[in-house]
Amino acid sequence: MRYVGYGLILMIALLIETGGAPGLSLFGVRPELLSLLTMLFTMSHGSQRGAVFGFSAGLMHDLLIGRFIGLYASVLLLLGAAIGFITEQLFKDNFLVRLGTVFAGTALSQVLYFLGMAAFGRGISWLQLGWQSVLAASVLNTLLSLFLYRPMLILDKRLNYWHELLKRTG
């Protein structure tokens, strides 16, 4: 039940991303919802489950695009593991720490994905990395995290509750 719920959340996020979400764009750049969800999930579940969540999210994205399959999955896996590790060391409930983590995590995932594409033959160099895009996506994700952190926690609690209830009733 819990996993179906998380799968649906990721699917909806992916559909919003592919749908364009024009109202959410900044300088023509859209938010990276999958990396944002991975970070928010990791903050409440730790690095191991965050990495699995990230890998699943990335794989859904990769299978839809049909190119560099496994690259975004690897990036989000690393992101989940890294954010989990960092938030375990820091006081994760601190509002500013959370915002800073989302900002840095989004930028990191963007740069890693770009470098991955370059490494696997996209034929572009490091110099062509659009820093404006990275910055805009990071700002957008940080702003969105303000609105999504609490609902994600509540949804998470509900999913856990239903999961336990179903397990008990068989």
Partner: protein, 274 residues
């Protein structure tokens, strides 16, 4: 001892997983004409939802336009607010219908004029990331669409189908940095190579193929038909700037495409010659 063995096994599993993942990324980094069954199923599951979201989004965009217009009218004439509000909303709806109607009419004329068999397709999605310029169409193998087919509108070239599922296909836009097409300067007939520009600018770059090629601002670049993907003489865009390369031996012309790739709603897939 058992702990060491377990660590060794986990380490080996991680190395194998990394190698397999590397292999898959490397394999799928190339343009493939066929996608795997898993991708096909995943895309076909998502495509009805993508269609629904795309249409809902379009509906709301039209509504937002109507609301914005409504605000302007309120400021201009408070006394006639109610009447103007009603009329303006109606006019907006009619404008939208007219725009759609005009586009489809032009597309129909273009379809009748051209010697190629064309298939009308609706744009139901865009690339989920900011690094690739792709769109998703609601037509796939079931409608005769295969990879490598050109996608156009009556204004010019849109891109190429790079992969497809049963009911959807993905189009790499001509403005993507990985796109290239054979072009021709319409006024002189000189051949140029037209490529997408890096950095999501929505512009094209034309570089000469011949030594004596000359291009000026305002020149129209059309497809040369040499690539066998795009039909000949379809407009690509207009030269807006010409920049000399090193030692003035060559140049790069900045081309503004006629097609607005950010506002595509319907396109035509070139299925083949009649």
């Amino acid at each position: 001892m058992p702990n060491k063995l377990l660590n060794w096994k986990i380490g080996l599993a991680v190395v194998i997983a990394v190698l397999v993942l590397n292999g898959i990324i490397h394999y799928t980094a190339q343009t493939r004409s066929q996608v795997s069954w898993l991708e096909r199923v995943w895309r076909d599951i998502l495509s009805p939802f993508q269609t629904a979201i795309s249409r809902t989004q379009r509906f709301f965009r039209h509504q937002i336009n109507a609301v914005q217009t409504r605000r302007q009218l309120q400021e201009r004439n408070a006394q006639l607010e109610a009447l103007v509000l009603e009329l303006r909303t109606e006019v907006n709806e009619l404008r939208n219908f007219r725009r759609e109607n005009e586009w489809l009419r032009e597309a129909l004329d273009f379809k009748q004029d051209t010697e190629h068999e064309l298939l009308l397709a609706e744009v139901i999605g865009r690339s989920p990331n900011n690094w690739e310029n792709t769109i998703v169409l609601n037509r796939g193998a079931a409608h005769g669409v295969t990879s490598g087919m050109a996608v156009v509108t009556n204004y010019g070239i849109v891109g190429t189908v790079i992969n497809h599922s049963q009911y959807t296909s993905t189009v790499l836009l001509i403005v993507d940095a990985q796109s290239a097409a054979g072009g021709m300067v319409q006024s002189s007939g000189d051949l140029v190579l037209v490529e997408g520009m890096e950095g999501n600018t929505g512009m094209l770059v034309a570089t000469p193929l011949g030594r004596d090629t000359e291009v000026e601002v305002g020149d129209v670049i059309v497809t040369s038909g040499l690539s066998r993907i795009y039909p000949k003489n379809l407009p690509l865009g207009e030269v807006v700037a010409v920049e000399p390369r090193q030692y003035d031996l060559s140049f790069a012309a900045l081309v503004k495409p006629y097609v607005d790739h950010t506002r595509l709603e319907y396109v035509l897939v070139v299925l083949g010659d009649d």
